[in-house]
Every structure is written in C-alpha cells, then in structure tokens.
C-alpha cells in the first residue's frame, strides 16, 4: 500500500511541486497519474522512489514511513520498486541480458536463478531472441521494453513508470501499454502520462493533478485534456 498524507514539496526558490497532496493506493492497484506538464506527476514518482524528500507530510510505502529514511532503508525500498523512465536509462555498454540481469544481481540472486528470471522476463516483453544484442542495435520501442523487463524482473512489489510512452510513436506506445496490461494484478502499477487516449482506453483509477494539487481522484474513469 502507498499512502501520501498531506505531502508538500516546495523547492528552494519557493515554487511548489506538490501542495498538500493526499491519496492511498491499494496493493496490486493500477493507477494513472495525469495532468499537464509541471502538474507534479514526476514529483510524485520521485517522492515514491525517494529521489526527493517531502517538505512536509508523510509518505508510507509497504507500512514503512519513508519521509526520513536512512540510506540502507532507501536501498531496500528501491529494491521493491521497479522504475521505467521516459529516457529508458539503458546501459549502452552492456548487452540486453546484462541490462536486465543487473536488477537480479542487486537482489543477490545466484547466476542460475538470474538466467532463468531474465529469460522469462525477456520472453514476457517479446525480446527473447535479443538477449545478446547491444542497446545501439535496438529501436526506441524495444529499448523501452528492456527498461520494463529490468523494472519487473525479480521480486518487485511496485512498478512506477514516468511517461513510458513519451518518446514513442502511437503504435509502439500501444505495444508498450499492452505489456503493462499483462502485468495488471501482479503488482501495484503507477503510470504517469499525459496521453489521454491510453488513459481513457484502460478505464482504470486516475489521479488528476494540476499545479501541484490533486484535483480529481476518479476510481474508474477517463481523462480529458
């Protein structure tokens, strides 16, 4: 479960990224975070990942208040969260297999288990034949599939994605969203996007943000720009 309780994030120059935002996300729920650029979607993702700390309020993830956690706790928390980024963040000097395996290595899985899990995950995202290939040989859509594979391999309880289709054409975007659809119910999935077509077609819970405030929480709805 993820609980945001009156979370405010204020930057040093005085502008608010988030202003007293509160919500709860149940286990295995599928959520869209929507809103125009600068609404605070990425800030919520970064607060969940503990890349940012809240100025006030509390954030509880998996029954643990992460508002003022130590580095050890943060590392442990991050091992439970798979993250997908708009710019993929793929390591260009490692093969596709190695890029995905890094998550298993961080989780201290042995070589045999790592091999098994990476192959299963690559198969899930449709890249089973490209494990030895290097990132430079892949398209943007394939790179995002690698990023998703890296985010879901291993024991992940949460999956957060910040504009996962932001750099992709519409056809590839749909293919990527189909992978998220396959994962529904296996983990808590939070996707930040401003693609209304995707949000409307999924008919899932939508948190609408505007200028750092949560303006709507639709349990099963769409999104209008």
């Amino acid at each position: 479960m993820i609980v945001f309780d009156k979370v405010t994030k204020k930057f040093p120059l005085g502008n608010f990224a988030l202003n007293e935002v509160s919500f709860e996300i149940d286990d295995n729920e599928f959520i869209f975070l929507v809103g125009p650029s600068g609404a605070g979607k990425t800030s919520i993702i970064k607060l969940i990942m503990k890349e940012l700390s809240p100025t006030s309020g509390s954030i509880v993830i998996d029954d643990e208040d992460i508002s003022s956690s130590s580095f050890k706790k943060i590392s442990r928390l991050r091992r439970k969260i798979g993250a997908v980024f708009q710019d993929f963040k793929i390591l260009t000097d490692k093969s596709i297999f190695e890029n995905v395996a890094v998550t298993c290595q961080i989780q201290n899985l042995d070589k045999g288990e790592t091999k098994k899990r990476v192959r299963e995950t690559l198969s899930l995202v449709g890249l089973e034949k490209k494990e030895k290939v290097f990132p430079v040989q892949l398209s943007a859509g394939e790179l995002q599939r690698v990023a998703i594979a890296r985010a879901i391999v291993g024991e992940k309880k949460f999956l957060v994605a910040d504009e996962p289709t932001g750099n992709l054409d519409p056809k590839t975007s749909w293919e990527i969203m189909k992978i998220f659809k396959k994962l529904e119910g296996t983990k808590t999935i939070i996707i930040a996007t401003h693609n209304s077509d995707i949000v409307n077609s999924f008919q899932k819970r939508v948190l609408v943000l505007k200028e750092g405030k949560l303006v709507k929480d639709k349990r099963s709805g769409g999104y209008d720009l």
Binding site: M49, I74, R76, T103, Q107
Partner: protein, 298 residues
C-alpha cells in the same frame, strides 16, 4: 574479471598511469626494504664480531697474556674475553683456507699470533680498552671496530629516516594518482551509478567493480615488481657472493625471531612478496574507497 578487463580496455591511459605509479611505488619500496635489511643485517653481523681484537707477538708467554686478560676482566667494563692460542688460531686459519692447499702448506701454528677477542659492556668503553692494550708489552696489533660500527649505525639511521620519508611520499602519491584515475573512471560511469542507486544497489555493490579493478592493479603491480626484483637478485647473486665472501650469514632481528637474509632464501623472498602484496592491496582499497565516497551519498 571480465568487467575488470573491459574497464581497463576502455580507459587504457588512466589504467596505465595508475598501474605504473603503483608499480614504481612497490618496486622502490621493496628496494628500500632490502637495502635496509642488508644494512641492518650487516650491522648485526659486525656487532657479533669481537669489538676489540688484540694480537700478541707469536712468542709471548701465555702468563703475560693471562695477566692482561685478568686485569681487563676485573675492570668491570668487559662483557667477555676469549683467549685464542696459536693452535686454535691455526685451526681457524685452516678452516678459512680449506680450499687453498698452497696457503695451508705455507703456514704453521708457530708463526700465527695468539690473541684476545674482547667484547665491551658498552661501546663507549672501546677507546679506553684499546688505549690500555696498546700500552701493554708484546702487543703486535690492536684491531678496533668502533669506527665501522659507528659508521654503519649512522648510515642505518639516515637510511631508515630517509626511507620512511620517501616511502610515505611514494604511498601518498600512489593514493592520489590512483584516486584521481578512479574518480575519472567513475565520472565516465556517473549515469550507470545513478541508475544503480535508483534500482536499490547498496554502496558495496556500486563500489565493488572499482575496488576489484584497483585490487587487480595492486596485485599485478606487486607481482611484477617482485618478479623484476627476484630476477635482479638471481642475476647479481654471484657478484653478491663475491662481495660478501667471509660473511657466512646475515640476519635481521624481528622482535622474538631472527630472519635470515643472506644467503638468499625462500622465507626472506616470501616476506618481501607478502609485504609488497599487502601494500599494493592497501593502496588499492584506500584509493578506490576515497574515489567512490563522494558518489555514494543519497
């Protein structure tokens, strides 16, 4: 190992700079260590020789010699005195020249001088004892080794202090150069480190590849410096043997034990190698720790 070689291949010049600095540090440190060991060993050897040896004329009556011996013994300045008569002197001569029959044929016990080998309680008594002996009748020669001991002592002190300063300088330089080259490599991998942190990697996980690479350099630099040194030693062994002729063995006092350094032996080499390996690893660990420290803050 694969990661280490990949990283070395990708940053060859930084790796070479780090490796050569480490190699020269360890090589020069080993040379210093060996020089100090030999000087100290030689000093110990000299100190085990009689500090004053007085040779009497060959036909000096034994009673006269015993009188000198007893007077010295009663002075309270003597640790021990050993009398060597002509027969014993001849035995010593024979054992020293056993490989040269011509020399043995030419000498008999009659022409060798009887002598006293005197060890003083303190080195400060040596001039006094030597002066006393020179005034005695029938004395042929007084050999007095204080100068050699003093010179070796001061040389050892200078070498020890100089080596310590030079050694500290070398270690510091190695750590700085290795930290700088590792920092450069880390800067190239900044994005990767950032990603690893987001994936939940622990500090030790992020540090491991850099530590492995530094350790690899430290170990290979110490192995290479040791191999070069041992080759040097084996090549110059005949020369050393010629130079140290008459010196049966040199040893170093290490707390409760004695370490034999001459003739060259495997224990001495093993200690040299262990020291070189230890310092190589310490430099590697410290420098990679310093280099990664600033990138591992959340």
């Amino acid at each position: 190992m694969k990661e280490v070689f990949t990283s070395l291949r990708r940053t060859p010049y930084q790796s070479m700079a780090g490796f050569f600095v480490l190699f020269f540090t360890l090589f020069l440190s080993l040379v210093l260590f060996i020089s100090l060991s030999f000087v100290n060993g030689f000093l110990s050897y000299i100190e085990t020789r009689p500090q004053v040896t007085v040779y009497f004329q060959p036909k000096t009556p034994e009673n006269n010699i015993f009188k000198v011996r007893d007077e010295l013994s009663n002075s309270g300045k003597i640790l021990s005195i050993k009398y060597i008569n002509q027969k014993q002197a001849f035995e010593i001569y024979k054992s020293l020249n056993k490989d040269n029959p011509l020399l043995l044929e030419m000498v008999s016990a009659d022409i060798l001088p009887p002598s006293l080998e005197i060890y003083a309680l303190k080195p400060v008594y040596l001039p006094e004892i030597a002066e006393y002996l020179k005034k005695q009748g029938n004395v042929d020669e007084v050999q007095y080794q204080k100068d050699i001991v003093d010179r070796l002592l001061s040389l050892t002190n200078v070498l020890r202090k100089g080596s310590l300063i030079f050694f500290s300088y070398l270690i510091l330089m190695s750590i700085i150069v290795l930290t700088t080259t590792t920092s450069f490599k880390i800067a190239l991998k900044k994005d990767e480190i950032e990603l690893l942190r987001l994936l939940g990697a622990s500090n030790s996980f992020i540090r491991k590849p850099f530590l492995n690479e530094s350790l690899f350099m430290g170990i290979s630099a110490s192995v290479l410096s040791f191999l070069i040194l041992i080759t040097f030693f084996l090549y110059f062994n005949p020369f050393l043997k010629g130079y140290l002729v008459g010196v049966p063995s040199l040893s170093l006092d290490l707390y409760m034990t004695k370490l034999n350094i001459w003739p060259l032996n495997i224990v001495f080499f093993a200690i040299m190698f262990s020291l070189s390996l230890l310092f190589g690893c310490i430099i590697a660990v410290v420098s990679s720790f310093l280099a990664t420290r600033k990138y591992l803050k959340v």
